[in-house]
């Protein structure tokens, strides 16, 4: 049996003008970054449990900032913008300064992600490509341009422990990439096919062996990795893993699902939906790994007054959640079992 939990609103964070596209927690969970239509990045921090804007980063981009990502060390923020660039903000001097601008995409950059080591950065764009950048001594060098998708690429996310990258696209698929050790080029090793419309977002679980994806088709899908030589007889090629869709959660969401986050501490999955609702899913305790069952344990109607664009668990504080919406607000929540 699954018990229902409750999601408690802690604070509304207002400050952005217009739609807030994305939020990202500092890797230690001590502060939160947000970005949006107003071309700014805001850093929020709780002082005496009251959240305030501690910094506003401006003039890095000339158009909408679609997504931001903290580096694993917490010293850098990367920001992806519709202006076709990705900016790198450095705060080692105390204040955040934009010290690099990564150019190359032909049009809107939709997503950016740091690898767990912090040595690699991935970006993706409406130009259908995924770029992998190597970082060394504050220099950013393009290591690979991957043209595997046939449409607009919406999201890139690194594996939590390994240099394996996943990307989600308007072409309805998710692709997995790995560096080929022989010629050190990045190639697509597997394509996850099952969604029937745009895949907006994805998240790995803490082991990296499972992926959750969300789509315009209003479903959530769980994918299981099967490594080469797996004992249950799932065939693989070139010693590369394959990912199989082992669970589809349909009937819960009424509009496009824009974001998903799989909590690395609790294993809870949160979704951000165009029906203004935040939903939380939990795996059943007797769930079979090859055919898992998940239940919805929380659903907050009118979590925002417009589409919820982003939702993310605090990586350090159990139960703390942030969300962002077209309504211009960032919200801090607390999930109680």
């Amino acid at each position: 049996m699954i018990t229902m939990g409750s999601l408690e609103l802690k604070q509304n964070l207002s400050g952005h003008r217009g739609r807030v596209w994305s939020i990202c927690w500092h890797p230690k969970g001590i502060c939160l970054a947000s970005c949006g239509e107003d071309k700014t990045i805001r850093i929020w921090q709780a002082t005496n449990s009251n959240w305030i804007t501690t910094m506003i980063l401006t003039e890095g981009h000339t158009r909408t900032i679609r997504e931001i990502a903290w580096s694993p060390c917490g010293n850098y923020i990367a920001s992806a913008s519709f202006d076709a660039t990705t900016a790198i903000w450095d705060r080692r001097s105390g204040e955040f300064e934009c010290n690099a601008t990564l150019e190359g995409h032909e049009n809107e950059v939709k997503s950016v992600s740091w690898s767990s080591s912090g040595h690699l950065l991935a970006t993706c764009s409406r130009d259908k490509s995924v770029w992998i950048w190597e970082t060394k001594d504050d220099e950013y060098e393009c290591a690979s341009v991957i043209n595997a998708h046939t449409q607009d690429v919406k999201k890139v996310r690194w594996h939590p422990n390994e240099d394996i990258l996943a990307s989600a696209s308007y072409d309805n698929t998710v692709k997995i990439y790995k560096e080929d050790m022989i010629d050190s080029d990045w190639t697509c090793i597997h394509t996850l096919t099952s969604h029937t419309s745009t895949v907006w977002s994805l998240s790995f679980d803490k082991t990296g062996e499972r992926i959750v994806t969300v789509s315009d088709d209003k479903t959530v899908k769980i994918w299981q990795e099967y490594k080469s030589g797996n004992t249950i007889g799932i065939s693989t090629t070139n010693n590369d893993s394959v990912w199989k869709c082992v669970c589809t959660l349909s009937g819960y969401h009424t509009r496009t699902i824009y974001d998903v986050d799989w909590c690395k501490i609790t294993g809870l999955i949160v979704t951000a939906c165009g029906d203004d609702i935040i939903r939380i899913f939990k795996e059943e305790s007797d769930s079979d790994i090859h055919e898992p069952t998940f239940s919805m344990i929380c659903s907050i109607n009118n979590a925002h007054t417009q589409d919820v664009n982003s939702a993310q668990w605090n990586p350090a504080i159990v139960g703390q959640l942030a969300s962002a919406s077209d309504d211009g607000l960032v919200k801090i929540w607390f999930y109680n079992e």
């Binding site: 158009r63 909408t64 919406k154 419309s197 745009t198 315009d216 509009r255």
Partner: protein, 144 residues
């Protein structure tokens, strides 16, 4: 020869100015549809059978008599975007706007519907000042 002219003393009309080609029109990556002016340019310099004058100078053809029916993919997208923009601007923000092509009326219906429903692509399109100008012309009525 002069004796046989049907139109002995033709009235002359002023020619229109040359069309200004915009940077967007010269950009091979931007698909732009044929408009009445382009069609007009194709036919205005056809010469009159009897006078060394063009059809335009004789007012045989006029730009405003040309109607280009072009509900191609670009136009359908623009129409859809214009409807969406008008509703987004006019309705309170709590409204969810869905704009879809009438089933069975366009060859690229599914692709168009997907594009119009993708708010990220719509948002990016609306940051393109040229496109916004075109849409504003559409939604602001006939005054342009």
């Amino acid at each position: 020869m002069t004796d046989n002219l049907e139109n002995i003393n033709p009235k002359l009309y002023k020619k229109v100015e040359d069309r200004q080609v915009t940077a967007a029109e010269e950009d091979e990556d931007i698909v732009d549809a044929f408009d009445a002016r382009e069609v007009f340019d194709l036919i205005r310099n056809i010469n009159d059978p009897e006078h060394p004058l063009t059809l335009e100078e004789l007012n045989v053809v006029e730009q405003n008599l040309i109607e280009v029916m072009q509900y191609d993919t670009l136009m359908a997208t623009l129409i859809g975007l214009s409807i969406r923009v008008q509703l987004l601007r006019a309705l309170p923000p709590r409204f969810k706007v869905s704009v879809e092509i009438t089933p069975g009326t366009h060859i690229s219906e599914t692709a168009l519907n997907k594009q119009l429903a993708d708010k990220e692509r719509v948002a990016a399109a609306l940051e393109n000042s040229h496109l916004v100008e075109v849409i504003n012309h559409c939604v602001c009525g006939s005054k342009y």
